[in-house]
Symmetry: C2
Subunit: 331 residues, 2 copies
């Protein structure tokens, strides 16, 4: 089933904190020179110095608004689509909104959508569903993530892999546009529920009885199992996605896989005949930015001209939980 609803991305904005080269990171933590690029595929990434998730998210939205000459008042809903958060309460979206220019006086609604690394994909589907040109004319989705604070220096795999950053996308219902939301699906395979975790904090390992310990207060990934899960389920997922629509993955103009890991992004080209320039990515320069990874690729591809108006884009990713999600859109 294909939707074809006239949804147009009218503005994109991003915020990146300070760049950190792999050489500097390796030196700081006593890793062999070259380890990061060799094993994680990451040459550099961005890590916060003073920034918060709220700050970066607000900056990304402000840039997106500026690009399409809109004001916050033109937005009907703010969706924060991220796994991380500044505080457990209030919601991240309400924090981001409060840090925006005009955020304290414009009373648009704000809510969070979280499917970890697929949060942007889930929020895109939800926004596309809500947008009707009446109650909702414009919705901003923002994915702002700080991974660096929660990295375990003893776990080289995650230490070198993750980066921080924020992206915002303004989606508009426009009955005259040729742009469209075409399709999205997600599946959650609970066999992998705890293969990607941050266990400390929350109600189960509560702060009181669980003082700081990098083994629980850090991202932890069962990389081998995650790869196996992706390899097992991705082909069926993609086949089912394209089965009942008149487009083939190979015919799309751009494929944006979540920048999960070096091996993770290579799965697609190992399984399918995709053209060299068809698959876009930024793992080498940004690392895995959790939910911000997918929209960061989209942002930069639009800015560089790699994705043009009318291009068919297929977004495909995995997420903690363990989920696979796909989104097809005509930019």
């Amino acid at each position: 089933m294909m939707s074809g609803k006239p949804i147009k991305i009218v503005g994109l904005g991003k915020y990146l904190p300070q760049e950190v080269s792999s050489a500097d990171l390796e030196q700081k933590h006593g890793l062999p020179q070259g380890w990061s690029e060799k094993y994680s595929g990451v040459k550099s990434r961005h890590h916060i110095t003073f920034e918060s998730i709220g700050y970066m998210g607000a900056k990304a939205i402000e840039q997106a608004l500026e690009k399409c000459q809109m004001e916050l008042n033109d937005i009907d809903l703010l969706i924060s689509a991220s796994a991380g958060f500044d505080y457990p309460l209030p919601s991240q979206s309400s924090i981001i909104k409060s840090e925006l220019k005009d955020g304290m006086t414009v009373n648009i609604p704000a809510l969070d959508v979280d499917s970890s690394c697929l949060s942007f994909v889930s929020a895109f589907e939800i926004a596309s569903s809500l947008l009707d040109g009446k109650k909702y004319k414009n919705i901003v989705i923002v994915s702002s993530e700080i991974a660096s604070t929660g990295l375990n220096p003893n776990n080289w795999e995650t230490l070198t892999l993750f980066g921080d950053g924020a992206v915002a996308a303004i989606l508009q219902f426009d009955s005259n546009t040729d742009s469209a939301y075409l399709k999205s699906t997600m599946q959650t395979y609970s066999e992998g529920v705890y293969d990607s975790t941050f266990k400390g904090g929350g109600m189960k390992l509560f702060f009181k009885d669980n003082p700081y310990d990098p083994e629980i207060h850090s991202f932890a990934m069962n990389g081998r199992k995650l790869l196996r899960l992706a390899k097992t389920h991705l082909p069926d997922f993609i086949d089912a996605f394209f089965e009942d629509i008149p487009i083939k993955m190979e015919e799309t103009n751009a494929i944006i896989p979540h920048q999960a890991s070096k091996l993770g992004v290579s799965i697609l080209s190992s399984l399918y005949k995709v053209k060299e320039n068809q698959v876009l990515g930024n793992l080498a320069t940004y690392g895995n930015c959790i939910a911000a990874s997918i929209p960061l690729v989209l942002h930069d591809a639009v800015e560089s001209g790699a994705i043009k108006r009318g291009d068919i884009c297929f977004i495909i990713g995995t997420a903690a939980g363990f989920s696979i999600g796909g989104l097809l859109l005509k930019f």
Copy 2:
């Protein structure tokens, strides 16, 4: 604008942990006998002993499925609509799904929606929008909350006010139903962004540099400011909600306010001429169960017959952030 989309709540289920009387709570923490009921309006509430958010959420869903004789396989999307969480990662919905009967083998998608105490209201609107009888025929929303773990024993106001519990509601698109999603709106007033918080944990006051301290690792409410915000904005919000629809609040069969606090639930009847039996609540026996409060009232009112098929129900609440949300439905 009124929707009238044929959305029917076909199943409701709940899970409550052990009941804790105010007398017992007061004795345990050295409060004067009767303090809780007098100041918080809470006679008893439920607190977990062994339960997790995931466990309670799964039990509530299983009961809801049973009530309408459905299997997990009949559900097209699981939305966890809560402020709290067992672990920061993975998403709460994926944890709940993994704890469900058949959850490990049925690969339906799972995602979180969070607008703190209004999460159920936000998820209801999102589910109503997504439900189309094709891709989405049935969506389950579950609000599972544990407040007791994060209570500061030195803060009597929150200590006596909050309770734990979970509720699930199965929403179905049914073109033959008389039930309907009618309208919902939300506004986020950022002037109150930090008047209801849980600040410790998360990326801003990270675990490493912020060891357990009940002042930051607990719910904190600026009760007086929240009341002032509600009193300032609620009348305009409600007037605007009913302005362009052919229903008046006073004509609805049932009004369900979020069970925020004793004074919070009294605002409505102080501002509007509502009939005595029209406003439903459970603060005295459940306390404030965060996002689970609203659906718990709905659940019990349907079970007791206070809400019947065809009844027009108006749900209205406030949330950390600070937000006000309203939802009108024909049960």
